[in-house]
């Protein structure tokens, strides 16, 4: 921005145009929201049916005890990661393009962790005993097993959700103080309370900037640690295909890859529907596309190393598991995964395609599908063929599992749609700061 008038005008435009997105929704919005809520409600009904009838209504059984539910859990936790990367890591690296995406990405993180958190509960079967997962003083003085990676997961995911939610909220406080000026009645009261009485005074900004920095610094190691811990759910076992040291970095790279794709899936239509073209530009999308390309290469590298480790392991079981993945009952899913995650993203080497939003949106759908397949292939193929051929078996998800998986998308998109009307979807304060620099 050059002249003072231009800066003042830009400040006004950022506020008015971003907050215009929070106005009364149109019919298309209600239709989309109803569809998503309906899908989520269907999932609740199916879950209710499963609770009533028991776990036998699902396809999971011996030898595949972890099926689509755990696949969905790992998938959604992975989706969450890119939100933290875009928000916290890019903040620490002072990447300015983050201000266009960070709010949506943070919201995505919170909703994705919420969605992920449902799946261990669904998978538990007797969900009313879910509190047994938490260490609490009880009559028999029994404690949870802190040596178990599943218990690490409880702590990692709960911490991740709490810190992500605090980070999301703290980043929004100054914008909520702006939003209250544009509202009346109950909404004004709500935003006033949520903004805590923020006035942008010297003391408030001084402590706020440090708080934001510390939260970003805490969230950054969480990007690495949470999906590493999720990967240890598998890698700490001795099962061929799971028991490998590459799992932690492999899962983290995959998580950021899938989350970046989901950010594109969410922000491309949101930008169009809320008329945010001025603030979320094609340049911003190109930067995100570069992250997608880079993480795709990391994931492809992990696929190669993983197979190489098996080939050189000297273990007949390891080799057998990888051959089974490539040529066995799930071979189409394996090759589909490679196509979606390793081949299709290579098109992003072409600058023109990186800047084509329709193409990016389509590509992000491929990556989402590919990453879901990756988790399915990892989890199911290793369990379907372990050491003893007598115990081998094939798992096919039943309709109820497919319905609940689909419903999780309904739940996630419904939450995101509600967010777009309830809160400023772009960080107004940060956009102004970046523009004035």
């Amino acid at each position: 921005m050059s002249s003072a008038e231009e800066k003042v005008e830009y400040h006004r435009l950022v506020e008015e145009e971003v907050l215009a997105g929070m106005r009364k929704p149109r019919k298309a919005y209600w239709a989309a929201l109803s569809g998503c809520v309906g899908l989520a409600a269907l999932g609740a009904v199916l879950w209710g049916y499963q609770i009533k009838k028991g776990m036998g209504v699902e396809g999971i059984n011996n030898p595949v005890g972890w099926g689509s539910y755990i696949t969905n859990f790992v998938f959604w936790v992975g989706i969450a990661h890119s939100g933290t990367l875009i928000s916290a890591v890019l903040f620490l690296f002072r990447a300015k393009f983050r201000s266009a995406f960070n709010r949506s990405a943070e919201a995505m993180t919170v909703f994705a962790v919420m969605t992920a958190g449902l799946f261990p509960l669904i998978h538990l079967g007797r969900v009313w005993h879910a509190y047994w997962l938490f260490p609490y003083p009880n009559q028999r003085l029994l404690w949870v097993n802190f040596r178990s990676p599943l218990m690490w997961d409880v702590f990692a995911v709960s911490t991740y959700f709490t810190i992500s939610a605090v980070f999301f909220y703290v980043g929004m406080i100054p914008d909520l103080a702006i939003a209250k000026r544009f509202e009346t009645g109950l909404r004004k009261r709500l935003y006033s309370a949520l903004s805590l009485g923020w006035v942008g005074s010297f003391r408030q900004w001084k402590h706020y900037t440090r708080l934001y920095l510390f939260l970003a610094a805490f969230a950054t190691p969480l990007v690495v640690s949470v999906h590493s811990i999720v990967s240890w759910d598998f890698a700490m076992s001795i099962l061929p295909g799971w028991h490998t040291t590459i799992f932690a970095p492999y899962f983290v790279a995959g998580a950021i890859f899938s989350g970046t794709a989901m950010v594109i899936t969410l922000v491309v239509p949101m930008r169009k529907l809320l008329h945010l073209e001025r603030f979320i530009t094609v340049d911003h999308f190109e930067s995100i596309a570069k992250i997608l390309l880079f993480t795709s290469l990391l994931v492809t590298y992990s696929y190669v190393v993983e197979s190489g480790l098996a080939a050189y392991s000297g273990s007949v079981y390891e080799k057998g598991t990888f051959l089974y993945r490539m040529t066995g009952d799930y071979k189409y899913l394996y090759w589909g995964m490679l196509f979606c995650n390793s081949i299709v993203p290579l098109t992003l080497l072409v600058k023109r395609l990186r800047r084509n939003l329709v193409f990016l949106f389509g590509l992000s759908i491929f990556v989402n599908i590919g990453m879901w397949l990756e988790r399915f292939v990892i989890i199911v193929t290793s369990m379907a063929r372990d050491f003893d051929p007598y115990a081998w078996g094939v798992y096919k998800p039943r309709l109820i599992e497919a319905g609940i998986a689909l419903a999780s998308f309904g739940f996630f998109f419904a939450a995101f749609l509600l967010f777009t009307k309830a809160f400023p979807v772009v960080a107004v304060t940060e956009l102004k700061e970046v523009a004035d620099e």
């Binding site: 003072a4 400040h11 040596r147 810190i163 004004k188 003391r203 402590h207 440090r210």
Partner: protein
């Protein structure tokens, strides 16, 4: 009495702030209201580090210590060998301590921020008397008022 200066741009605001500080107005009597954090104002008015870091550090240390103390206490209170691991499996407990360090550190940083800024303030919360977000403002409190 409070003097109030209002500006549309950061540059004009900083110019006036610099002038006030140079003219000998006590830094403690100056307050600013800005649409975003202006680091140059911090340089002029108060260069000290925010004590939020103490809250963060204390919370992180407390979380880490609590993580180790709690896991070790539970295994010692019912010493049951699982998976052939040692009763006090420090390697495994690092994960719990690490997560609690981040959790408690993050939450105490937020609590520290609320304490230091005296937020939330619900009195006159609906008032828009301070037009946050559009203007860069400086207020100077007179000696008598202080």
């Amino acid at each position: 009495m409070t003097e109030r200066y209002s500006f549309d741009t950061k540059d004009a605001f900083l110019e006036k702030l610099d002038e006030l500080v140079r003219s000998g107005v006590p830094r403690g009597s100056i307050n600013t209201f800005t649409p975003y954090p202006v680091h140059e104002a911090e340089e002029l008015l108060d260069r000290s580090e925010s004590p939020v870091r103490f809250f963060t550090g204390a919370g992180a240390v407390a979380g880490c210590v609590a993580g180790f103390a709690f896991t070790i206490y539970t295994v010692l209170s019912w010493p049951l060998v699982t998976g052939g691991k040692e009763i006090v499996s420090v390697n495994a407990f690092i994960v719990i301590a690490y997560e609690l360090m981040i959790l408690v550190g993050g939450l105490s940083a937020f609590a520290g921020f609320l304490f230091l800024t005296r937020l939330p303030v619900f009195r006159n919360i609906l008032s828009d008397s301070v037009e946050f977000s559009r203007k860069f403002e400086i207020t100077v409190e007179s000696e008598e008022r202080r």
